[in-house]
């Protein structure tokens, strides 16, 4: 690139505004710096470490990884669990997303609330709820015995199904939300048009709605899969000895044997799988579908390919089959509103999604321990938490770290969002992809990388280390939230304010911020929640004596299950509920 000649210094009195380029650089710089220093650099370190043995280059770590049957089994099992989880989550999530997309606004909000509540309830709390639910004296066993299905408690936990149940339960909201973002953009008139053109309901769904929602299905599957493959909470707590996933090996290698080289090799392998999945996805569907835009079809002249014709035939068959089945039932007169079977299915699913955590709450007040049904009422578990310096210091730390993370993420993310929405520049897509890196990269890799880096610069066990780590994963969500707020903001209002004599700063303060304020607070609360729930980074970098709430909970859960933990989980759950309600109210007031 040719050098750009430096502009002559203007006289000081008429300060010339910064050039567009340097202003844009300045806006993106903090985030770029953050991600390069605390995401890319540590990951690159891990990459190098994985090829080291002693002082020289070696492939020994990979040889060990690929040459040991145990590790290969773990990898296959990890893939199996992730694939099964993905399939179940997408199939169960589709009707929910579909229902939400066709409901009128008021009802939509109600269902969406339960989905968001599940989405933001930490994985740890939900895994813990399942432990109580599936235990020997848990609700499920008691129910089976009451119904006479079994005489003695059955071992429901510590097996493959328990892990998959927990993970599907954990990732269903993600599947629903991802699919919903595509379905919301499908014009409702299209299925109506199909109907006026002679298509029966089954045919209209399979030939029109389903193909249009398919990008949502694939991107939902992608998101669920890449998240599932990095899980360790569920296999560790709900799985048996055999249900070990790849991230657990990393934890074991670091915490127990400090074998950095080998742990890095596992991390690199994990990352490679994730990247491979993304590349394959991009080839097959196109990554642009992730943002909710429908993939731009290339104007292929001539006939459709063989695959699309087979697909079309299958959809036509499904359409006929559905219509035949629908035809078996008498037609209801009231055609308006959602079909009743769908409503029923979604209601049951929402109940299943929410109940485990809700059932845990009464147990935290019970004197009978974690056995179902709860007996007696006591506040002693809560009393113990508040009397315990360990829990209270963990709580304080979580609040401080969460608050600082939210502030920092907002300060760093907001300028980037402005740049993405308002800025005229090349390479926006690249910048967005860069911003989303922390979402794509399994948190485990980031955590191990940060641990290694922090160990060298003395940030292990400090709040600052945690805040930086949490900011890295929270920033993309802040950017996305603020971007969506800015997209809905009419920039002509700014021009109007300035034409009426307001300076840019006053425009921002008096016009822009009051309007986008609620959205900004939402972004703040999201960032806070992410930090408040975060376990993986805290697991490594918080050190022995300075745990956060999730870390403390994790440590205790791994040792023993006690009603005290139910009380802690209940507190965490109620706290997040309060935040979600707050965001909901804010958004409603804004509208």
């Amino acid at each position: 690139m040719a050098a750009i000649p430096a502009p002559a210094r203007p006289p000081a009195a008429t300060r010339r505004p910064m050039s567009r380029r340097s202003r844009q650089l300045l806006m993106a710089a903090p985030m770029v710096l953050l991600l390069v220093t605390f995401l890319i650099y540590p990951s690159a370190q891990l990459f190098l470490l994985s090829f080291q043995k002693g002082d020289g280059f070696s492939l020994e770590n990979y040889q060990r990884l690929l040459g040991t049957p145990v590790y290969l089994t773990v990898m296959m099992l990890t893939l199996k669990i992730s694939v099964v989880t993905t399939i179940f989550a997408v199939i169960a999530g589709y009707p929910v997303a579909y229902l939400i997309s066709i409901l009128p606004k008021a009802k939509k909000g109600r269902i969406l609330f339960w989905i968001l509540l599940s989405f933001w309830t930490s994985f740890l709390v939900r895994a813990f709820a399942w432990i109580i639910l599936l235990g020997r004296n848990g609700v499920v066993n008691k129910l089976l015995q009451t119904l006479g299905i079994s005489d003695a408690p059955i071992a429901l936990m510590y097996n493959f199904s328990a892990v998959v149940i927990g993970m599907v339960h954990a990732l269903l909201p993600l599947a629903v939300l991802t699919m919903l973002s595509v379905m919301e953009n499908i014009d409702r008139n299209l299925t109506r048009a199909a109907s006026t053109l002679g298509a029966r309901p089954g045919m209209a769904f399979w030939k029109i709605y389903f193909p249009l929602s398919f990008p949502g299905v694939t991107s939902g599957a992608l998101m669920v899969f890449v998240t599932a493959i990095g899980f360790f909470i569920f296999p560790a707590l709900l799985g048996g000895r055999r249900e070990t996933m790849i991230t657990q090996i990393i934890i074991e290698q670091i915490i127990q044997t400090m074998n950095w080289g080998f742990a890095s090799a596992v991390a690199v392998l994990l990352l490679a799988v994730v990247l491979l999945v993304f590349v394959l996805y991009d080839r097959a569907v196109g990554l642009s579908t992730m943002t909710g835009e429908s993939a731009a079809r290339k104007g292929r002249p001539g006939r459709r390919g063989i695959f699309s014709r087979i697909g079309d035939a299958i959809l036509t068959g499904l359409g006929h089959a559905s219509d035949a089945i629908i035809g078996l039932f008498p037609r209801r007169r009231a055609r308006e509103g959602a079909p009743r079977p769908l409503l029923g299915f979604v209601t049951v699913l929402l109940a299943v999604m929410t109940l485990p955590v809700l059932l845990m709450i009464p147990l935290s007040f019970a004197e009978s321990g974690l056995n179902w049904p709860p007996q007696g009422f006591t506040l002693k578990w809560y009393q113990q938490i508040f009397d315990s310096p360990i829990w209270m210091s963990a709580l304080t730390r979580s609040l401080v770290v969460g608050f600082s993370t939210a502030v920092l993420a907002l300060l760093i993310g907001t300028p980037v969002a402005f740049l993405m929405v308002r800025g005229r520049m090349r390479g926006k897509t690249a910048l967005l992809a860069f911003t989303l890196m922390p979402v794509v990269m399994p948190n485990m890799i980031l955590s191990v990388g940060l641990f290694y880096l922090y160990a060298k610069i003395g940030l292990v066990g400090t709040n600052l280390g945690l805040i930086i780590g949490h900011t890295v994963i929270a920033v993309p969500y802040v950017v996305l939230t603020v971007m969506s707020v800015l997209r809905n903001y009419d920039t002509r209002l700014d021009l109007a304010a300035q034409s009426l004599g307001a300076t840019p700063i006053r425009t921002l303060r008096l016009v822009t911020l009051p309007i986008i304020g609620a959205g900004m607070i939402s972004a703040f609360l999201f960032a806070f929640t992410i930090s408040f729930d975060e376990l993986t980074i805290a697991l490594f970098t918080s050190g022995g004596m300075s745990a956060t709430l999730p870390k403390q909970l994790w440590d205790e859960v791994s040792l023993s299950i006690s009603p005290l933990l139910a009380a802690v989980s209940t507190c965490l759950f109620l706290f997040v509920t309060a935040l979600i309600v707050a965001v909901g109210l804010l958004n409603r007031r804004q509208k």
Binding site: N189, T196, G198, R200, S294, R297, G299, R300, R333, E336
Partner: protein, 360 residues
């Protein structure tokens, strides 16, 4: 024989009466327009006919078959949506072929008919493109081809030209009329644009507040409005206040505010002494330079609006609002002088008495 008939058809949303019980007959081959402001019930009526909403009362008959509760795909209709509703994942040919496929038409026949339809809307070479690659006007034509290719007995159009610019609109109006003539179907057309309704329709069904305000030919509605709403909605109208002195056989005499009496047309019989407003279209008022017997008004201002020149006149005794008269713009005309008094003259056939107390 009527192709489409509604009997006492009504729709209520909670407390809101979207459509009061409505009787309407559409003849075979007719172009009927549902015209009205937003919220007047025209779109509700269309949705009920299409089967996209369900009636709370009354019946819908198509070719004498009761289809009140039939699903859209069981009715013999075609519908053109406001935003076209072309299927984005299908090519143009696939879009147009869709209704035929749903009806099990053989593939070879489909190919022939699709090409024919594309020729008819003058887009013969775009079969393999996707909707996104077409301009608004082209999408419009494709939507038209798609909803007419299977020759449904009723074609419903929901403000189909709303999204097009003025010039394209005029062009498409003409196009729709041409195709209507070619295929000879019955069309029910919704619009809020009175000019469009006047240009295209055999009959206009003007709606207001969930009911039919007046149903008739464009000329009927324009020259013989039966209510103030109709007079006001279609074109500009001057309304002079007065009382009916006498009236019979569609003619009458009205005493105006300045005590002068004029001869008027009575579209419907009114009782003697009834409060009326006399509607005069601006182009039907002649301005006589010589004041004298009759109605006088003072010129306040005037402006050239293009083909016609508008005069704004004051006559407090006749009407509270300023009166408007128009005249064809011409260089040869003498420049009028604001502040001068003019005498207003008109043909009694152009002065229509409308009951004044009728709400809306």
């Amino acid at each position: 024989m009527s192709t489409l008939e509604t009997q006492g058809l009504g729709k209520v949303y909670g407390d809101f009466v979207a459509l009061a019980p409505t009787d309407l007959k559409v003849e075979k081959g007719e172009f009927l327009t549902l015209l009205g402001p937003s919220g007047s019930g025209k779109t509700t009526l269309l949705s009920l006919i299409a089967g996209l909403a369900e009636a709370d009362s009354g019946r819908i008959l198509m070719n004498d078959r009761d289809v009140t509760y039939a699903a859209p795909y069981q009715r013999d209709i075609g519908m053109m949506f406001q935003n076209y509703a072309l299927f984005p994942h299908m090519t143009i040919a696939e879009n147009i072929a869709f209704p035929l496929k749903m009806r099990g038409t053989p593939a070879a026949e489909i190919r022939r008919l699709v090409q024919e339809a594309l020729d008819m809307v003058r887009l013969p070479h775009i079969a393999d493109r996707f909707p996104k690659e077409l301009s608004g006007g082209q999408q419009q034509r494709v939507a038209l081809a798609r909803c007419t290719i299977y020759r449904p007995s009723v074609i419903l159009m929901d403000e189909p030209l709303g999204a097009l610019d003025k010039k394209l609109r005029d062009q498409m109006q003409f196009e729709i009329l041409r195709i209507h003539k070619e295929i000879g179907g019955t069309i029910v057309y919704v619009t809020h644009d009175q000019e469009e309704a006047m240009t295209m329709s055999d009959r206009i069904c003007l709606m207001n507040g969930g009911r039919i305000a007046q149903l008739g030919s464009p000329a009927d509605l324009y020259f013989r409005p039966q209510s103030l709403f109709v007079a006001d909605f279609l074109g500009e109208a001057n309304l002079l206040e007065g009382r009916l002195v006498s009236g019979a056989d569609g003619e009458g005499v009205v005493r105006l505010g300045d005590a002068s009496e004029i001869r008027v047309t009575l579209p419907r019989p009114l009782g003697q002494g009834a409060a009326v407003k006399v509607m005069l279209r601006p182009q039907n008022i002649r301005l006589e330079d010589t004041p004298g017997e009759g109605l006088n008004a003072r010129l306040r201002s005037w402006s050239v609006t293009g083909a016609s020149t508008k005069f704004f006149l004051e006559a407090p005794a006749l009407a509270s609002d300023p009166l408007i008269a128009t005249r064809a713009t011409a260089m040869s005309a003498r420049a009028p002088e604001p502040g001068r008094d003019y005498r207003l003259s008109f043909d009694p056939r152009d002065a229509v008495a409308i009951p004044a107390d009728e709400a809306a």
